[in-house]
Amino acid sequence: MSGLGPALLNSLEMGLLLFVIAVGLNIVFGVLNIINFAHGALYMLGAYLAYTLMSLAGLSFWVALIIAPLGVAVIAVVIDRLMLRFIYHRDVADSLLLTFAILLIIAESIRSIFGSNIQAVYPPDALQGTVSLLGGSYPVYSLFVIFSGLVILAGLWYLFNRTRVGKIMRAAALDRDMAEALCINTRMVVTGVFAFGAWLAGVGGVIAAPMRTIDPGMGDKIIIESFIVVVIGGLGSFPGALLGALILGAIYGFGGRYFPEFNLLLPFLGMALVLLFKPTGLMGKGANA
């Protein structure tokens, strides 16, 4: 069957991009116990910052890849200190409401600054063109996306399993009071983790910018996709985020090839199936109400 190779590479490309976004959502949920509805908006912010730096300020893609996610992280620190700190001790509904409000604020600010039109940025010269691989020609930039996803995956694994910072984050996720008793400044951990999740969303946004379109609807699309990923994989589970992202990537890569007319519905059907048979997600530990 021709085209199997490119479908596989497309799946991997989509899957690893989705992993970078969804794992940020998951890490924030693990430590802060809130689902950040504005995560997709932060991703969009990363893409628009990259667009501003590249198209308007004339900087290179590589500079944007460093600066834009840091900018998103700084904004996340401001959001955390100005808004989220009021509701950490409250009912979970309040954190959902507040991050939803932040989503509205970011999405509408972007719409009113940049307008509703589609913007485009181009990959750097080194990553333009195609290579022939696995029986098809394939854009170099897509290989770069896969490579970046793997680097982040390895980096996160190292961070959580081999470094002191990662251990502190895991301790804060397991038992915040206990961590505090061990002289860990959990308030700083909370702010740091929220900023780190936003940084990941920003990195995803910059990487996605040359390959997907930049428009004010891109945040909606990615947050729904991230939700599907964490529901399929299991909320709060690191391997779950990877598995869910690869499954959704495969749904796009192969489903788009063989059932193009159902392409938009397939992810939701996959999510519904998981909910019917394993409501806590494939790698979830059980969060039944």
Partner: protein, 315 residues
């Protein structure tokens, strides 16, 4: 005593609403039709959120479903208007039942994520299935030929449509009020406060949550069925997540703890919208800022804060 004063205020407000077309400028007939419809939408949302404690971010799916049902039945089948309302309630309720079945099984966080995701699924279908829904243009060009029930009303007249809306919303609000005060409604409140204890009493929480979600969907569908002839179009925007944000904000604005809170919130919302969009386009941005401030500092809402203060005040 205070109860009687409140009842009096309510009756005066209802009388003023009935008489509105005879004293208010023409423009306000439109404003108040919109307030009534969105108020019903918000009250149906608050049954799920304020009473049962489930935060739905996809409530616009059922609102839009109602709007599309009415618009398509009027356009293709020439049904009498009243019958399309029932059809809209039935189909929206069915949609809420199916989606709710998948969403009420897990914790509150999952519920919020899933309702948003499935809401956007419905939006995507309405947006992409051009053969049936006419894509982003939506269903337009329908007319109400017959009102139904043997009544001969000229619906095209805004004052008449206002009164039709007032009667329909009034009946729906009364039904929802009776539901909220029934033993069923009390169980919903108990589930919000302490689900474990309710299930220790031998009640199946999941069925009650699903019932609440479906009833909310049915009445959101009714509100949607009323908005389609008002806007003269049923478009995918009615199903978008930003539309789902509106009943959330209205409920928070008015107060989730009182039955009429969302109606008060809807009135403030529409009046603010009219005022703010007269000098800026960024209405949704303003909405986000207000929602954030209300959640952070003013969680009981305007009506809730006022009533709590007034009821506890010493005479």
């Amino acid at each position: 005593m205070k109860q009687n004063i409140l009842l009096g205020v309510l009756l005066v407000a209802i009388a003023l609403l009935i008489a509105l077309p005879w004293y208010a400028p023409f423009f306000y007939i439109f404003i108040f039709t919109e307030i009534l419809i969105l108020g019903l939408f918000a009250v149906s949302f608050n049954l799920i959120f304020g009473y049962t404690g489930m935060l739905s971010f996809g409530h616009a799916a059922y609102f839009g479903m109602g709007a599309y049902t009415t618009a398509m039945l009027l356009l293709h089948q020439d049904w009498p208007f009243v019958y399309t309302l029932f059809a809209a309630m039935a189909l929206s309720g069915l949609l809420a039942l199916v989606i709710g079945f998948l969403c009420v099984r897990l914790s509150e966080v999952y519920f919020a994520m899933l309702t948003l995701a499935f809401g956007m699924m419905v939006f995507t279908i309405a947006h992409s299935w051009r053969d049936v829904t006419n894509g982003s243009d939506g269903i337009a060009g329908f007319r109400i030929k017959e009102f139904g029930l043997g009544l001969d009303l000229t619906i095209g007249n805004p004052a008449v449509y206002y009164h039709v809306t007032l009667v329909v919303v009034g009946i729906a609000a009364l039904i929802l009020y009776i539901i909220s005060r029934s033993s069923f409604g009390m169980i919903l409140k108990a589930i919000r406060q302490n689900p474990e204890r309710v299930s220790f009493c031998g009640l199946n929480i999941r069925s009650y949550r699903l019932a609440s979600f479906t009833i909310g969907g049915i009445f959101a569908g009714l509100a949607g069925a009323l908005i389609a002839p008002f806007l003269r179009v049923a478009s995918p925007e009615l199903m978008h997540w930003s539309m789902s944000a509106e009943p959330v904000l209205m409920s928070i604005l008015g107060g989730t703890g009182y039955f009429l809170g969302p109606f008060v919130g809807a009135a403030m919302f529409v009046l603010l919208e009219t005022w703010i969009t007269s000098f800026t386009e960024s209405w949704m941005l303003f909405l986000g800022i207000v929602l954030a401030l209300m959640v952070m500092f003013f969680r009981k809402g305007v009506l809730g804060t006022f009533l709590d203060w007034w009821m506890n005040k010493n005479d």
